[in-house]
Structures are given as structure tokens and as C-alpha cells.
Amino acid sequence: MVGTLLLSREDIRDLISIEEVVEVVEKTFKDMGEGGVINPAKLHLDLGDGSSGLPYKAGMNAMPAYIGWQKVAGIKFIGGWEDNPSKGLPYIRGMIILVNPEDGQFLSVMDGGLITAMRTGAQVAVALKYLMIKKERPVIALFGAGTQGRTQLLAISSVFDIKEFRVYDINKDAAMLFLKEMSPMTKAPIKLFDSPQEATDGADAVVSVTHAKNKFIRKEMFKEGVTLCPLGSFSECADDVILSADKIVVDHVEQCLHRGALKELVGAGAITAENIYGTLGEVVAGKKHGRTKNDEKILCVTIGTGAMDVSVASMVYRRAMEKGKGVSFSF
């Protein structure tokens, strides 16, 4: 039997940079727009985060995909455990498997946590590249100073020369820690804000990576010309924020109608597939225009697709093979 390459989070950290992740994510968006990617809607296993009645406050998603430009298939199996952080354990637990579609042999099994964080940042960086009003010295506002917030900063600052990176977190200590830890890692000036409203004044883009369920992003925070990227799984945006968008761009139509920012309004019948302007893939592939007017308010929802995980993992795997990293196991 052919060996399957096992890669740890530490290996992955050494093998790929955020710049490379952004590059892979952009290519995969383009491939999605051109029809080269197969990415069914993710499948959820409710371990207590839904109506299953299990006591774990957790859930897992199965996210398989095939990537045409890399000729590789794979799956990410990942979930979040709400009570883990209080036990000193990571919130996100995930693994990625790659398969060679030619012969069905498993190429690699690797940690999925770091790749998830990096590609989630990269998705927004690519979205902003095509949708943000100002590409030179933009002002970015970030809500949520956790792990996801960190990779948002790293990814966005790898693409743009950021004039000001504004951070708001409901927990001030988290924001302070973010400033302390991230300042040495970026040349973007980080500035902390006490209210989300203030942070959005004069911002070109607003990125939200929180667990909020209270619709704290209100209409006055979504001004003309702004690109708003709500990435949370729950309810970050007030209804009129979503309804006031001139364009709604998503990464995956079916998935975005059933999860995240749009879910509730879709359920109420106020938003349907017809209200989606296009996918980010279509925009990157040049099939749809991105921003066409300076005063447009663009809402961009990139909930995350298995395709991004599989394509980044595939790049990591190739690097590992070249550099002789990881451990081989014959299943």
C-alpha cells in the first residue's frame, strides 16, 4: 500500500505563508467561477449546537470538494466546541483528508485548524481586493479579536498597505492582547476602539468575526462605499443592514442561504437566491463586475467552503513532499 502523509499543525506552519494562502485562495475562487471546482453544500452533524438534544454545545461540518486546477479531492471535518476555551482547549477542532482522484488513494491526513484560520482570512483579503472602494492605504475595521481576527489581519495586510487597522472586541482584555501580540507581526498600525460605531467611522471595509447573536452591527455602521464582511455563524447584522446592501456577494449561494448572516432573512422570505448579486468566484473569474460605483454598499458573505481548505491543504502537501516533511503511514 502507498503511504499517506501525516502533517501536524507545526509542520503546516513551517510549510506555507499567508501570502501563499491568499494566492491559492484567489486561484480557487477563479476556478469556482469558471466551473472547475465541485463543492457540495457542507453537511452538519449536530452534537448539541442544534436541536439534537445532545449536551455538548458543539457540531461538526463535513466539507468535501474537488479542485480542478490542482486535480485533487479532499474533505475537511471540523467543528467548534463552545465550552472548550473555558477548559483551556481550542474552540476549533478539525482535520483535512486529501485523496488522489485518479486512483482513490489517500495522499494526506493533516490538522485542519490552522488552515481554516488562514484561509478564512485569505477569503476576505481576496474579496476586498475585488470589492473594496480604496485599494491604496485603506482603513479596515475588525470586530472580534480572537484567532480568526488575527489571521484576518495577517491576510489583509499581506495584500494591502493598511493605513489603520481598527479593532473592537466586547472583551477589552482580548483587544489589548491582540494589540500586544499582533503589533510585532504586521506593519499595519493597530488601533483599539471602545465602540463598534466609532470603529466604522471612515472605514473602507468592516470585517466581523464574532460569535454574536445580538445583531450589533446596525445600519449606521454600514455607510456608502463600505464593504462589509460578516463571517460569524450566528446573527451579527441587523436586518436593515442586510436589506440596505446594494450588492450581496457570497462564496457559495446554497450554503449562504442556509447558514450565517443571511439565514434568518431567507427563512422569513425577505431574501432569496435572486437577491444574491453573484459569487465571489464569478467576480474573480471576471464573469461579474465587482464594485461598479463608489457609493455602493457591498455585503460580502464568505462562510467558507471546503474547496479553500482542500486547495490550501493540497499546496501544503506538495511542499511537504518536496521538503521531506511529515510522517508516512500505510492505512
Partner: protein, 331 residues
């Protein structure tokens, strides 16, 4: 740091017998009937099995599940490939299973899933029969003499006295090999049928083929016959499905969208209302099995992730006791 246990096919094989698999499958069916199993409908990734792109003549199914009686969760990612894989003389099925601790999300194990798939698929049929067929002796008609044909026979022979097997395969060499391999498992005679009709003359008819033709004729199946069409495509005529006294499945959502019922379900001729019961409901005692001896029953255990997760969990428990397998720290 957390150590994930790695188990190869050889190790999995050494850790469970068909008897163990039957026991796990029966308990898991009972759990499904009682509502303690969570098993969303599997999500497929079509790699050219039916789609025109990509061209690999294969598919991968993601099958996550939670099994209450073992308090274990996981996923099987399994597929079949007819292209390069067949030319390389590799088995049709390729599969890995990941197990997680549902309390905190640690990945407890990564193991081969192909052996478990074959074993549990046989066991599903045998356990269904245990509740649908009241006598000890039976005559088995078998279409498809491959790996699945072997494990179907092994599982049934653990519970029943097989007076005769009539095996039919479009490849006569496969039938001969089957007869040789199974002579010590089957209590009675193994007859290589010269026509499909001859093999259909039995108490229980099991189809484990990759046929895309509806080759089992309604008129061949006598009163009292129980038919298990296990293939990915419809193996029996529409008439039998429409005329069967009872249709019993393992998972309603899944069975309406794949395998034997797919075509008639899409045509609107079979709906959820036509399904008499799930195997789980019958095993849990919520529904009666066979009412009258002359009933013709169509039973479709298409396969659920719950069975894979259950058997894999037993394998892991044994591996822990016997200290078998490798380890890797993914995080």
C-alpha cells in the same frame, strides 16, 4: 498535544470478527429506532461516477454520525473508483474513518474504513433478516460475487443456516472464486447459477452489483421472497418495487436519493409514505417485521455512517486494550 491513534487495514482486521460487527450493527440499529443516533443524509462528491466532469469514474461520500450507545462521533469518507484504480487492480472501495470525542472534539483515531465498510454492509443485511425472516434455514440468491458478496454471505451464515447459495456474476471466474472462498462459511451447497433467473429462486435475494440495468425481474421473485438491492443503481424492475408488500430501509432521506428507490422517487412514484418502516424501528420493536409468510419484502440497507462509526469505535476500544496501532500528534 494529543495523540491520535492510527490503525491500518491489517490491524482493523485483527481486532474485530464478524460476530463483533453484527453485535455493533444490531445495537446501532436499535439506537436509530430509539432516536439516540444522529445520522444526517450522506453528502456525495461526484468525481465522474455520474457527472461528466471531472473524469475519474468515481465518487466519495461523506458520512458523519453520532452513536449514542457508545457516546462516539466520527465520519467515514468512502468512495469507489472504476478508472485508474481498477486498472491498478486495487479494490473498488477506498475509505478512511475519523473518530472524535464528542465531549471536547479530540480526534481519537484515523483508520482504514474499507474493511469496516465491507463487514458492516454484510452485517446490516444479516441483522435486517434476523428481524424479517423467522426461520433458521434459508436459501440465498446472490448477485455479485465480489468482496461485498463475500461479506454478505459471511454475515448471514453467522445467524442463519444457509441451505444453499445460488450465486450469479457476469464474470464466471468471480463466481468460481466466491464458491471456493465461501465453501467453509456456507453450511449447504454453493451453486453457480447459469442464469440470473436461477439465482433469484431463493428465500432471500441479495444484489451487490455495480449494474446500471434493472436486471432482477418482478416475476422471478416468488411470494415470501425478501430482496436486498444494495447497489448504487437500481438493480430490480420498477414493478417489484411498486408491487412489494413492504418497503423497509435503513435511512429514509438517503434511500430516496440513492440506490434502488432513486429513480421512482424522482419520478414521484415512491415517497416517504411508501416506506413501511426503518430497520431501526423494527429492531427497536416499534414496528412489526414481516406480517405474513407470503409477503414480498424490499429491504434496502444502503449504509449509514452510524454503522461505520459504531464498528470503528469498537475497533478503537480493542486497539486501546491490546495496545495496537501507531500514534501521531496532529496538534
Amino acid at each position: 498535544m494529543f495523540k491520535t491513534r492510527l490503525l491500518s487495514q491489517e490491524e482493523v482486521k485483527s481486532l474485530v470478527t464478524m460476530k463483533d460487527v453484527l453485535e455493533a450493527v444490531e445495537k446501532t440499529f436499535k439506537g436509530m429506532g430509539e432516536g439516540t443516533v444522529i445520522n444526517p443524509t450522506k453528502v456525495g462528491l461526484d468525481l465522474g461516477e455520474t457527472a461528466s466532469y471531472p473524469p475519474y469514474e468515481g465518487f466519495m461520500n461523506a458520512m458523519p454520525a453520532y452513536v449514542g450507545w457508545l457516546d462516539s462521533a466520527g465520519i467515514k469518507w468512502a468512495g469507489g473508483f472504476l478508472g485508474e484504480r481498477r486498472r491498478m487492480d486495487l479494490p473498488y472501495i477506498t475509505s478512511l474513518i475519523l473518530l472524535i470525542d464528542p465531549k471536547i472534539g479530540n480526534f481519537r483515531a484515523v483508520m482504514d474504513g474499507a474493511y469496516i465498510t465491507n463487514m458492516r454492509t454484510g452485517a446490516q443485511t444479516a441483522i435486517a433478516l434476523k428481524y424479517l425472516y423467522s426461520k433458521k434455514n434459508l436459501r440465498l440468491g446472490l448477485f455479485g460475487a465480489g468482496m461485498q458478496g463475500h461479506t454478505q454471505t459471511m454475515a448471514i451464515s453467522e445467524i442463519f443456516h444457509i441451505d444453499e447459495v445460488r450465486v450469479y456474476d457476469i464474470n464466471p471466474d468471480a463466481s468460481k472464486k466466491y464458491a471456493e472462498d465461501m465453501k467453509n462459511k456456507v453450511q449447504g451447497d454453493i451453486v453457480i447459477a447459469s442464469s440470473p433467473e436461477e439465482a433469484a429462486d431463493a428465500d432471500v435475494v441479495v444484489c451487490v452489483t455495480q449494474s446500471k440495468d434493472k436486471f432482477v425481474k418482478d416475476k422471478w421473485l416468488k411470494p415470501g421472497t425478501i430482496l436486498f438491492p444494495m447497489g448504487s443503481y437500481q438493480e430490480c424492475e420498477d414493478e417489484f418495487i411498486l408491487n412489494a408488500d413492504k418497503i423497509i430501509v435503513d435511512h429514509i432521506g438517503q434511500c430516496l436519493h440513492r440506490g434502488a428507490l432513486k429513480g421512482l422517487s424522482e419520478a414521484g412514484k415512491i415517497t416517504e409514505k411508501n416506506i413501511y418502516a426503518t430497520i431501526g424501528e423494527i429492531v427497536a420493536g416499534k414496528k412489526l417485521g414481516r406480517g405474513r409468510e407470503e409477503e414480498r419484502i424490499l429491504c434496502i440497507p444502503i449504509g449509514t455512517g452510524a454503522m461505520d462509526v459504531a464498528v470503528a469505535t469498537i475497533v478503537l476500544q480493542r486497539a486501546e486494550e491490546k495496545e495496537i496501532g501507531g500514534f501521531y500528534e496532529f496538534v
